[in-house]
Symmetry: C2
Subunit: 156 residues, 2 copies
DNA sequence: GGAGTAGTACTCGGATACATTGTGTCCGAGTTATCTAGG
DNA sequence: CCTAGATAACTCGGACACAATGTATCCGAGTACTACTCC
């Protein structure tokens, strides 16, 4: 199992954007961590499509959070980047097995599938229970001047 | 995020093997679900390397479980197929950010990384808490003659 | 001096290549069972 | 009839291609700002 790098990028980017009000351009967001800006832009678009960010076109445009950081869970971000499909895809191979019935939906009946789904649900629940605001609070607790540093880097 | 098909194959295969004592050849294990035998063999080798299965060479050889089904967790199988690496890889991009310190290990310090790891731990815990024997018991409860069907299909 | 207008610089957005991983296949090395020949 | 050996069939095991996904890039469409010109 593997998650793309973009997940890390987007989480940190959302966190940074939670400390800024005005739109920030892709170039600024990329420079802060020395990331490839064009590719970052692609991922930002994905988040915009999922209504996590809003894109502002034109000069002095960019991206900003679409809603309060407390209303953006880590799961929202992960799903926006990686897609909604489940990690474990049941191909229903039991249909071909002995005693297999082509009319049964094994993705809900098969015990293996159920077990894998339960684990994935635990993962999702954990991610859904933690928001950008939660993380921001933890960061500030450790490093009180982090917001100021980020603001300076993003808004000249 | 995505898990390979082989995970499903291996879980069902381990389950089937839990009902047979003698070694079963790759061809037999593949035929039961109409799977490509050569590719299945590749995955079986991976499980053998991780000491979940033992391979018996020569005529009348094949694979059998290396230990009691109650001692084989779903996590063992998933890790054997997908590798030990974590799904979320922290690239420590904070080192490049404002106030970033090249000497700090952000994979343990960074709050984002911690949050992602916690979720993954929940996933792993769920998988580690469920064994092949547990699944076998559930299957028998629903379909008492399943073991007999599988045995017939695997041992002529 | 103020307003309208043309130009310009900057932004997103999608279409386009490259790299890595997952998926699938093939053939050779090694082992066991079988058959045969000899005692 | 029993035993030893050669043969043959079957198995795993790793090396070899193909496809899909992730990663990275480029250029065009559109917007806001700016400067200039005219009233």
């Amino acid at each position: 199992m593997r998650l793309g790098q973009a997940v890390e990028w987007m989480l940190h980017t959302c966190l940074n954007l939670s400390w800024v009000d005005e739109p920030v351009s892709t170039a600024r967001l990329a420079d802060i961590y020395r990331l490839p800006s064009a590719y970052l832009n692609k991922q930002l678009q994905a988040l915009a499509r999922e209504k996590i960010l809003v894109s502002v076109p034109g000069a002095r445009g960019g991206f900003r959070l679409a809603r309060d950081p407390a209303e953006i869970s880590l799961l929202d971000v992960v799903v926006a980047v990686e897609g909604k499909a489940e990690a474990f895809r049941c191909a229903q191979i039991l249909r071909n097995g002995p005693g297999g019935d082509p009319d049964v939906d094994y993705s809900s009946y098969c015990v293996v599938s159920q077990s894998m789904r339960r684990a994935e649900l635990a993962w999702r629940r954990e991610l859904a229970g933690r928001t950008i605001a939660d993380i921001a609070a933890d960061v500030v607790r450790r490093n009180p001047d982090a917001p100021e540093l980020v603001r300076d880097a993003l808004t000249n």
